[in-house]
């Protein structure tokens, strides 16, 4: 008998379990099922850096949060409404985020003495009444799964047990009315070589779904209607995937071969791995011996006429600094992607932070300006990558592209662009002398101040470039004091001039009455925009502006900042953009700063906005 269906506008589910429990797979499959229903979605995987931390331990807990709704949402949600905890450690580390009255589904089989002890529970929380304030559903997921899989040939008891995540997924799919068909298809193709494992997983999934229908612990099911999103074709995409596709697209749009130099590092490795699969697009990926070589090889490829890119995270980016200085002097295009993570040093490799802004702006010797572009959401990494490549090619300069661990691994539906509407970023290579019958490698374009890009193989344009100061126009080595002063200023002017070639800073202030402005950059876009919505729902006006370009700033930035009585700058660092805007625009802005290795929460940003407004 079908159970009653209750309508919800939005739900936030968090799957939490041991690293070996397959929570990332469970979460991403739940996301795929949800995407096909037309909900808007935002996801946030949160996992440890260790591949297999000791089983059942607190540091070994891996989580995946999915926010889905019948309207357009901006973040994976501050706190879950529903928590699925596969063992005591997962319960212990996540329960503090579940609000009173929230739905809690636990795998009761995992609450044995050993696991309780590992998680630091003296008594089982399932029995001591400590979970009374939640809607607790204690389900013996492991034994139900093992029971359901009896009789499949070639599946060991251990393998049967490992399918319990699919049982949980089946149950959650039933609870929220998601079809499990896409997951069945996925499992059958993933385990095509081991049909018995495919069968076990599919059976577990179906058993979980059926359990929901028949058990009495769940009285209702829920429905979240499709969101009214812009019409078009969508796919769910992570930031690292979008960034990779953006680089491939940029190379196509520029009509240049793409070369990526990279050394594996979390959370940037996925870009190297993704691009290694696009060889039929003429993409060359080079896994270098270190980050210095990765950047160097990209510079070498750029000298030869490729779109040279290097990807890394903070600890690797810092190694590239000298090479980026070389690219500034050589005035060759280069894109450096920094997928920021919590630091310093190794820090917290899988956790996001915005701590590298000042490094990418200033972390080099001498006067060495580099344009900086930052992505604001997972799908926006696509456009941000194209923009970074456009600037690098047009201005013959290294350009930083900033993302972070949250954007990199988080996902959202992406309205696929019409390829025909993407910008033409093609650039001209020099083919002939530019000063009578002479070729002057540092004779600049009057408008962009870019120098000609003459690649080896072009007859008559043979020339030598290098890290020693260049004489204006000829590019010969020069120690002339006035020439150095001139060249230093020209390099700075070239980058500053980009302000004329990027959009003005837009302000979101629906009522037009705001006296307070929230200024953000990069990956905090979602939480800040969601916070502003809340503040407005509470009846107050607030304006939001979000920077894509951090160097140079949009030309109207100072004017925008000065329009408001108060400016709040929320960041996942201790106030880096804040320092810049105070120094650059003499605006008495105030920071809101958290460095927990987690995205900002919309609720806390909303409180910070209201508190500043009340002051």
């Amino acid at each position: 008998m079908a159970k009653p269906v209750e309508q919800l506008s939005q739900v936030i589910v968090r799957f939490a379990g041991d690293s070996g429990d397959g929570m990332q797979l469970t979460g991403s499959q739940f996301t795929s099922e949800t995407a096909l229903l037309g909900n808007d979605i935002s996801t946030f995987p949160d996992f440890p850096a260790e591949i297999r931390a000791p089983a059942g331990s607190l540091p070994g807990v891996s989580g995946f949060q999915v926010h889905f709704a019948d309207f357009d949402i901006l973040t994976p949600g501050d706190a879950p409404n529903v928590l699925v905890a596969m063992n005591p450690a997962a319960l212990k580390t996540n329960i503090k985020d579940l609000p009173k009255g929230g739905t809690l589904i636990v795998n009761s089989d995992a609450f044995n003495d050993r696991n309780l002890q590992k998680a630091g529970y003296a008594a089982s929380p399932l029995e001591d009444g400590s979970l009374d304030e939640f809607q607790l559903h204690s389900v013996p997921l492991t034994s139900l799964t093992v029971g359901a899989l009896k009789g499949i040939d070639g599946v060991t008891p251990r393998e049967a047990e490992r399918s319990k995540n699919m049982f949980a997924l089946g149950l959650m799919s039933w609870l929220y009315g998601r079809s499990i068909d896409p997951t069945i298809e996925f499992l059958e193709s993933k385990f095509a070589k081991r049909p018995e494992i495919a069968e076990a997983n599919v059976k577990a999934l179906q058993a979980g779904y059926a359990f929901g229908e028949t058990t009495e612990t769940f009285a209702v099911t829920y429905e979240v209607k499709p969101a009214k999103l812009e019409p078009g074709t969508y796919r769910n995409i992570t930031g690292n995937q979008a960034l990779s596709l953006g680089l491939v697209a940029a190379a196509k749009l520029a009509k240049l071969p793409l070369f990526l130099g990279a050394y594996p590092i979390t959370p940037a490795s996925a870009i190297l791995e993704e691009l290694a699969g696009y060889k039929n697009f003429g993409v060359r990926t080079f896994q270098a011996e270190d980050e210095i070589a990765a950047a160097g090889a990209a510079v070498g490829a750029a000298f030869g006429g490729s779109l040279g890119v290097t990807t890394s995270a903070g600890p690797g980016v810092v190694l590239k600094a000298e090479t980026i200085g070389l690219a500034i002097m050589l005035e060759l295009p280069l894109v450096i992607c920094d997928i920021q993570r919590a630091g310093p040093a190794t820090g917290m490799p899988t956790k996001p932070e915005q701590g590298d802004l000042l490094m990418v702006l200033f972390g080099r010797n001498s006067e060495s300006p580099v344009p900086v572009v930052a992505a604001r959401s997972p799908s926006d990494c696509f456009d941000a990558a194209i923009e970074a490549c456009r600037l690098a090619l047009k201005y013959r300069t290294p350009v930083y592209l900033l993302s972070d661990a949250y954007l990199a691994n988080g996902s959202e539906p992406w309205l696929l662009p019409d390829v025909g509407t993407l910008p033409d970023i093609s650039t001209r290579l020099a083919t002939k002398p530019n000063d009578g019958d002479q070729f002057l490698p540092y004779l600049r374009d009057e408008q962009t101040l870019a120098r000609p890009w003459a690649v080896p193989g072009t007859p008559g344009l043979e020339h030598r470039i290098g890290g020693l100061e260049k004489a204006d126009r000829t590019g010969n080595v020069s120690y002339d004091p006035d020439n150095h002063d001139l060249m230093t200023r020209l390099r700075a002017q070239k980058v500053a001039g980009i302000a004329g070639d990027i959009p003005e800073l837009e302000v979101d202030d629906p009522s037009g009455d705001a006296r307070i402005l929230v200024l953000g950059w990069g990956g905090t876009y979602g939480p800040i925009a969601a916070a502003c919505r809340r503040v407005r729902q509470n009846g107050r006006a607030v304006a939001h502006a979000h920077l894509r370009h951090l160097n140079p700033f949009p030309r109207n930035t100072g004017e925008v900042l000065r329009r408001y009585d108060k400016v709040l700058v929320p960041e996942m660092n201790l106030g880096q953009l804040l320092k810049l805007v105070r120094a650059e625009f003499l605006v008495d802005a105030v920071g809101y700063n958290r460095v927990r290795g987690l995205p900002l929460r919309a609720a806390e940003v909303a409180r910070a906005i209201e508190a500043l407004a009340d002051q």
Binding site: A35, L36, P182, P226, E230, P231, G232, T233, Y234, R235, N236, L245, V248, A249, K252, P257, F259, G261, Y278, K279, N280, F281, G282, R284, A288, E289, D290, I292, A293, A294, G296, A297, A298, V299, G300, A301, F303, G304, S306, G308, E322, T323, G325, L326, L330, L416, V419, P456, G457, P459, G460, L461, E462, H463, R464, I465, G466, G467, L468, N476
Partner: protein
């Protein structure tokens, strides 16, 4: 148009110290280049930092004077994306073996199609005379007033250990010998490593006097492929391999004189020869130690691209964006 040495000179004033061995190497290179028959625009010299690394400014080809130690990495990016070019790296003993050691060994093991010329003067020239990774133990320099504590690298042993497919040695003043080695390096597909003994009269004069001034051939051991290895003023000395693989000096008339085989499958012979030094056995081999074929990194990469394209067709951007699970909202 046939090119001459003059075509490879630039209008830049050469700024090495008078008497520096780098001049001889530059001259030899400029007169050798036309013989290669490669257009100037298709040749690129990439260097790091040091006296030696100024080389590209003086070659009328494409060139890049980059940063300390990184030339092999930069050249790897260039050679891998532009297999049509002839790419040369010029480096010093500090540049290649100290700060850039990592890039050197990895370029060699990958067998990237670059020719790496290491100008070894056993000193840091540009920074005015500190000891280098090839300076001998106990060397007194500005930074080692009581003598260096570092055991030196043998550049050829290092290169062979790093899986180099071509390893050779030349002497700055021996134009004919150097030209022969450069020719063999250029003909070799893959990475070639050439150590060139280079005199720095300012900070380490006569470091290689035993072979540079060796008019009667008492110290140079010429390596000629397929020929017995003999030397000495009258060709009276020879090398012989012991059963444990190491090498000893014997009389040229004795049995078992080693016949040089640069193309031997095993690197053991080349390695053993690289251990023959003036200090160890009273002679210094020059010429090509090892020259074997192995798949070249750039070719392998190009092949993978071609295979992927043959299998999946040339990449279509719209199809790529629309790959994976998509859904429509009307």
């Amino acid at each position: 148009m046939t090119l001459t040495a003059k075509d490879f000179r630039t209008d830049q004033e050469v700024r090495w110290c008078p008497g520096c061995g780098d001049y001889a190497i530059l001259a030899a290179m400029q007169s050798f280049m036309p013989e290669l028959g490669i257009e100037r625009e298709n040749t690129v010299f990439v260097s790091g930092i040091g006296c030696a690394a100024r080389f590209p400014y003086y070659m009328n080809t494409y060139g890049m004077h980059s940063i300390h130690g990184r030339a092999p990495a930069i050249a790897t990016g260039l050679a891998t994306t532009r297999p049509d070019l002839s790419v040369w790296v010029v480096t010093g003993d500090g540049d290649a073996l100290s700060i850039g050691g990592n890039h050197l060994i990895h370029a060699l093991r990958r067998n990237v199609n670059v020719k790496i010329l290491l100008f070894n003067n056993r000193i840091y020239g540009l920074t005015k005379g500190q000891y280098s990774p090839t300076s001998e133990l106990g060397k007194v320099t500005k930074s080692t007033p009581m003598g260096s504590l570092d055991w030196p690298f043998n550049p050829l042993s290092l290169a062979i250990g790093a899986e180099a497919t071509f390893v050779a040695r030349a002497i700055d003043t021996d134009k004919a010998g150097m030209t022969a080695v450069l020719r063999a390096a250029a003909e070799h597909r893959g990475s070639a490593f050439v150590e060139i003994f280079q005199n720095c009269p300012i900070f380490n004069d006569d470091a290689f006097a035993f072979v540079r001034d060796d008019k009667d051939g008492a110290n140079r051991i010429p390596l000629r492929d397929g020929e017995p290895i003999t030397w000495g003023a009258g060709g009276e000395k020879a090398l012989r391999q012991r059963s444990d693989g190491s090498i000893e000096v014997c009389d040229a008339a004795e049995d078992g004189v080693l016949v040089h085989d640069a193309r031997h499958e095993s690197a053991a012979l080349a390695f053993a020869l690289s251990r023959v030094t003036q200090d160890s056995l009273g002679g210094t081999p020059v010429g090509v130690f090892r020259d074997v074929e192995r798949p070249v990194y750039d070719d392998l990469m190009a092949e993978q691209l071609a295979t992927a394209t043959a299998k999946r067709g040339e990449g279509d951007l719209a199809a790529l964006l629309h790959s994976g699970e998509t859904w429509d909202i009307g």
